[in-house]
């Protein structure tokens, strides 16, 4: 029963992903590893689409991955799986709101969770970058260091990083604009052909 499995996988994601939409990312990679429902490359596309369409990223990614696995019902079921733990947990937390905020045990748990969540997102990003920008196979075949890296993509990444962080005029721009710009560069310079 693919729907049941989808619901269960995204229930787990909703229950353990702490810190917002991108925190679901490591869980999606884990699902990809275990089920083969989608590839890392497809996941990167899903992130891009989720960032550039309305709605919270985490929800969009769940709908998208469910949709890839089992069509429109799959998208709906994955999303319901993702939000079920939130509803249960928040309804409970709401009852104990004031105790929750000041409880030292709870604060201790989150003190450990926050760096862990950051590390998981960083690791997920790192592994996908490694797959997309570094071509070990070609390097092994040709022995040429120049072909180890996808230099054009790396150059675009550096330009985007500088625009998004260090140029005052472009720093405040919405992520959608950087995504659109990167799409345009990809089309003009045939990025898909490598």
């Amino acid at each position: 029963m693919i729907y049941l499995r989808l619901f269960y996988e995204f229930l787990q994601t909703g229950l353990f992903a702490v810190g917002g939409g991108l925190a679901t990312l490591p869980f999606l990679y884990d699902i990809s590893d275990r089920t083969g429902w989608f590839s890392y490359g497809q996941l990167a596309d899903m992130i891009a689409i989720s960032e550039s369409t309305p709605g919270a990223i985490g929800v969009n990614m769940a709908t998208y991955s469910g949709n890839m696995v089992a069509g429109i019902p799959g998208g709906i079921i994955a999303t319901l799986g993702l939000i079920t733990p939130s509803i249960v947990i928040i309804v409970i937390v709401a009852h104990f709101l004031n105790k929750f905020k000041t409880n030292e045990g709870v604060q201790g748990v989150f003190y450990g969770l926050r760096p862990a969540s950051t590390a998981l997102i960083a690791a997920a990003g790192f592994s996908v970058v490694l797959i997309d920008l570094v071509d070990f196979d070609l390097f092994r075949q040709t022995g040429s260091f120049i072909q180890l890296m996808n230099w054009r993509a790396l150059f675009l990444a550096i330009v985007l990083y500088i625009l998004a962080n260090h140029i005052r005029a472009t720093k405040q721009l919405h992520p959608v604009i950087f995504i659109a710009f990167a799409a345009l560069v990809g089309i003009i310079f045939n990025f898909g052909l490598n």
Binding site: G20, G55, A119, G125, F189
Partner: protein
């Protein structure tokens, strides 16, 4: 009934207006819920948002559940949450259909090869931003390095890391409490 429908429609509107993550939703929540509808105060909204960030799940969903629950109890929480995810389900289903039909298009493939690069930069920026607020001392750095390397070099489930790190944080805080 009318109130529940109102909850659903209000949060569907908020979901449709949000681009990007839960953080991008805060200004829209402030305008729609605090200024216009006066359902919550600014302080309440900030509390909900902070808790939404530190409890499991997507921030937008957690915040919607909180406010819905305040208005109309558990059912209200569920309805508000369904409202906030409704636009995503509709829009993404349409987009997915469109992209599957054009998967062979060279232009689309080139565009996505470019887009992927921008996604990596966005993830890097998100991590750098999180780093500033999440990692406040040596223990934080140790947890980060440990989980980062374990996650790259092993196939263990992220669930294990989350539970382990929560436990480590709990013990570390408790020991600090005993010492001071």
């Amino acid at each position: 009934m009318k109130e529940l429908l109102n909850l659903f429609l209000t949060f569907a509107r908020i979901g449709a207006l949000t681009f990007g993550g839960g953080y991008a939703m805060l200004p829209i929540l402030q305008r729609e819920l605090v200024d216009q509808r006066k359902w919550v105060t600014e302080e309440e909204l900030m509390d909900y948002f902070a808790i939404g960030q530190t409890t499991p799940g997507v921030i937008a969903v957690n915040t919607a559940t909180f406010i819905g629950q305040k208005r109309k109890g558990t059912l209200g929480g569920a309805i508000a949450t369904l409202g906030v995810v409704f636009p995503s389900i509709v829009i993404i289903s349409i987009v997915a259909m469109f992209i599957n039909n054009f998967a062979d298009s060279v232009i689309l493939q080139n565009a996505f090869a470019g887009i992927r690069v921008s996604v990596y930069v966005l993830i890097l920026n998100a991590v750098l931003k999180l780093w500033k607020s999440a990692i406040v001392d040596k223990i934080g750095i140790i947890i980060f390095i440990a989980i980062f390397s374990l996650s790259i070099f092993t196939n263990l489930s992220p669930i294990l890391f989350i539970v382990g790190a929560g436990l480590a944080g709990f013990i570390a805080k408790r020991q600090q409490g005993v010492v001071s």
